[in-house]
Symmetry: C2
Subunit: 115 residues, 2 copies
């Protein structure tokens, strides 16, 4: 259990998924992961800092791209195993240059369309 | 790699996280997990079906509570390792009875407030 954040249930790898949402438009921008240190940095700096699972290092969002995220609020869910973070995104959230990481990539629904 | 959904990068446990968002208000309701079978059922039935990691079984959302989720769209992110699903939520998304799983559980920001 995290001593700093006992509310948060980090997984076996010491990570928690973070849903990142633009605070005003409510667009879902991306999903990223934090360890305890990156969460602490995020809360104290007011700027999103993640854990890069591919590079296995802290990832201060925007250091390379300039596309920083100013943090407005961080909440945890009923199980404590997911965070929801409201941010103000500068520029593109996605490394592809898209506003969000979910732009125009749909899986086909084969059921009748929901009403 | 999934033969049915090569766009989706299921993790080592065969699961992918799904951000669930109310299609009209854009509230983030919850994060859940799907395996290939639950994704296929979701897309063909037009109703959210997840994989319960705690019970290790398919979880047809709402079978017990009546709080079903009608699926409007499912998209995958730039890496294919996260899904974003727009739904129309009947009743409460959270098993606690709250509208969302993130209601009023905030971590304190110790930085100056973001503007």
């Amino acid at each position: 259990m995290s001593e700093l954040y006992p509310q948060v249930a980090f997984n076996a790898d010491g990570l928690v998924p973070v849903i990142v949402q633009q605070y005003d438009t409510r667009e879902v921008l991306m999903l990223a992961w934090m360890n305890e240190t990156s969460l602490q940095l995020t809360l104290t700096e007011g700027r999103a800092v993640y854990w890069s699972r591919s590079r296995k290092e802290l990832w201060r969002k925007g250091d390379t791209s300039g596309h920083t995220q100013a943090v407005h609020a961080v909440s945890y869910d009923c199980d404590g195993d997911t965070l929801l973070m409201l941010v103000d995104q500068t520029g593109a959230a996605c490394h592809t240059g898209s506003r969000t990481c979910f732009d125009d990539r749909f899986l086909p629904l084969t059921s009748g369309a929901a009403s």
